[in-house]
Amino acid sequence: MKFHHHRLSNGLDVLAEINPAAYSVAYGFFVRTGARDETPDVSGVSHFLEHMVFKGTPRHSAEDVNRIFDEIGAIYNASTSEEETAFYAATLPEYFPVGFELLADIMFPSLHEEDFRTEKQVILEEIAMYDDQPASFAVHKAMETHFAGHPLANPILGTRESITALPVEAMRRYHRERYRTGNVVLAVSGNIEWDLVRRLAEEKCGHWPKGSFRRAHPPRVGRRTDKRFPRADLVQQHTVMMCDAPGGTDRRRIAASVLSFVVGQADNSRLYWELVDPGRAESADLSFLGFDGVGAFIGYLSCAPEDAEANATTFRRVLKEVTRYGITQEELQRAVNKLSTGIVLRGELPAGRLGAIASEWMYHRRYRSVDDEVKDLQRLSVADVAALLEQFPLDPETTVVVAPEQTKASRGAAENAEAVPRRA
């Protein structure tokens, strides 16, 4: 495993972790822009643009893009978060030149009006799909509430209204301003020659426009807020609680990850034994969300509506106890061991390394290998977690409840199942 870095003359950072023993090579462009970097009039544009990137360039039609990626058997995708838009592919090493050229080309898409109108429908479908999923609806509402007044409240997909109203020109402008070399990192991982990576990056990205963009970092204004959203299609009640945590670029993020793991990993944690194992709740978990400069702990509880209040009280008691007494050495050791295995296993796949390499560089201008990451975890002490809890007590400020509204439609869909005759 060997790490290389090279900065192109236009400022694009090229990073590579070369592993000659791998079967594949993965490569991706990571753009430091996402929902939090949007103004209300273009809400959802980062994610919509992520879709439009696959809709063709002056050199490749949309069908060419899909066809060529399939021809070389690429596993490829893209994703948008609050603060990053990523485009990546994994192929056999022999197809790297073809795949890389295509991936680099589509980063500057044509953005034709007609494709924009068609893809808008797909985005509206995606919004509808997530809206139908109770857990993602609840988390979305909690983010919106917890970060009210802060750009992290911006919905990644935008809203039905913002997407419908968005003109193509606004997307073109957004792309021109954000897709600039100071804002993009190219990460490569797996079985490939560094010289080839460097040469192709120079050739395919050397002409990309320079420039950068400054992200706003307003403080989050804390206030206790409880909100309730009734829905006709639910059987369970979903409760999301949030409180402050260190940012994802803060060195205390490791303690925050371990703490949330001990308190709320899915199948062996304090919340699990209090609520899930005894069959009181369907899920009860806690995660750490680390963003650029700010963070949050987010707790999620789903259970029968009649048990929700008692379960939420237990949930809060678990948080209070750990805040007061901290975690034990045994809990720390188990969390560190299991999280370390997770890092190593994920790192086995070249594609599993891209995101970590890119964000480490984007926010810290440094490289951390899998072994470095594991060492960071193993250095953590119970005292580090106690110090974290002193600064960031697990005391939910935001509580969002999504609960069933009793209507006919909400009662067990299965009982209403009906057979429909075939059309003649």
Partner: protein, 420 residues
């Protein structure tokens, strides 16, 4: 060509071990396929297998439930049990140097579960919770209902069980299910990673030496044909699943069926993705895949779309089913073209090579192969079989297995009219 090292061993008690050595990984993944899935749930007690997979980890050997979970975590093991229709799965992944510490715990779970009386109500309530969660998630509900209507009985029995049967199941039912079905005959252990075959063979042999049980049960499956079913749900989207009969895994035409599913809805240059999503923007997700069980196969097509566009979406999909079945005429764009077939083959072949990086995927693949074929196919064998598929052989396949009379399950605000 990939150099593969696949070795197998059948123990005296009938247990089969299948191992693929992956020298470049630090990981090891292991799957026990135990023939104790929901297909074997007693009549009126659907959910017994699921409850067994919950109860079997609530204490085993020298450990109570919590000590067991702590022990797995301490070893850094991702461990889980899960009820499927044919099998109950016990699987884990960890670093290869921990394998010998994890296997004894697996032996405890398989041979020495406690089934504590005091935890049974909790186990049952856990299962009930997850069943209620399915009721409000239209996509999960669709998956369960599609299986129920499109697959032969008993493979159609929901592996999760049902809220209706659950209250009737007793701890004795769970113990009986364990006694009858958790047995070496028919159990397959798939292991992949940086491991020595002899070492794991001997260790497992010792750990599971006392394991015995009745011979494997033969199941006679029964299917009374396709159905069209709509489930009302107060959602924005209508979810649509369509299942066509296809040849089973072991059939020589399996590769034709695989390529048909791939051309239809495998990649983003597939017919359905191009026509339904890319050209018309009707959905976010649309795909086709080949699903195989014991003695049956299905080509399953899925999409989800807002209710007022669902009928149009279904009609566009239908037009694609029809077009794929027409006699080949490349000039008119009918039948399967050499180009699209080549893309499907390329995707399959690349995916097979890249799978060598994933111990978990390899452990699953070799165990699945053994379960269907009684042997493991090498990547090279699969590549040759895929290469042998042609536009003609696909057309021949579609003539024998036309896109007609599917099972259609929809969930959403309004039922759809299914074209004939």
């Amino acid at each position: 060509m990939i150099e593969q090292r696949i070795q197998t061993h059948r123990y005296e008690n009938g247990l089969v071990l299948v191992v693929e050595t992956l020298p470049e990984t630090r990981a090891v993944a292991c799957e026990f396929l135990i023939p104790a899935g929901s297909a074997f749930d007693p009549p009126g007690r659907n959910g017994t297998a699921n409850l067994l997979s919950d109860m079997i980890v609530r204490g085993a050997g020298a450990y109570d439930a919590r000590q067991l979970a702590d022990r797995f975590d301490f070893l850094g093991v991702q461990f889980g049990t899960h009820a499927g229709t044919a099998h109950m799965w016990l699987s884990f992944a960890t670093l290869s140097d921990r394998l010998m510490d994890v296997l004894p715990l697996c032996a405890d779970v398989i041979l020495r579960p406690h089934f504590p009386e005091k935890d049974f109500a909790a186990g049952k309530e856990s299962v009930a919770q997850s069943l209620r969660a399915i009721e409000e998630d239209p996509l999960e509900k669709l998956t369960v209902e599609l299986r129920r209507h499109a697959l032969p009985e008993p493979w159609s029995k929901p592996s999760e069980g049902t809220l209706e049967d659950l209250p009737r199941i007793t701890l004795d039912d769970v113990r009986e299910h364990y006694r009858r079905h958790v047995r070496p005959a028919g159990t397959i252990v798939g292991v992949a990673g940086r491991i020595e075959f002899e070492r794991i063979r001997d260790a497992l042999g010792e750990l599971l030496a006392g394991w015995s049980g009745p011979p494997e049960e033969r199941i006679r499956a029964r299917w009374d044909g396709p159905r069209v079913v709509h489930l009302p749900h107060a959602s924005h989207q209508t979810h649509i699943a369509v299942a066509f009969e296809a040849v089973p895994y072991a059939d020589p035409q399996h590769y034709d069926a695989w390529m048909v599913a791939s051309v239809l809805g495998g990649g983003s240059s597939s017919r359905l993705f191009t026509e339904v999503r890319e050209r018309r923007g009707l959905c976010y997700s649309v795909y086709a895949s080949l699903v195989c069980g014991k003695g049956f196969g299905r080509i399953v097509v899925y999409t989800g779309t807002t209710a007022d566009r669902a009928q149009e979406t279904l009609d566009v999909m239908w037009a694609e089913f029809r077009r794929l079945g027409e006699p080949p005429d490349p000039a008119a764009g009918r039948g399967v073209s050499e180009h699209e077939l080549r893309r499907s083959k390329a995707r399959v072949k690349s995916a097979m090579i890249m799978q060598q990086e994933l111990a978990g995927a390899r452990a699953s693949a070799i165990a699945r192969d053994w379960s269907h074929l009684g042997r493991v196919r090498t990547a090279d064998e699969i590549r040759r079989a895929v290469d042998a598929v042609s536009a003609e052989s696909i057309h021949h396949y579609i003539r024998q297995h036309p896109f007609a009379n599917p099972t259609v399950v929809t969930i959403g605000p309004e039922p759809l009219e299914v074209p004939r």
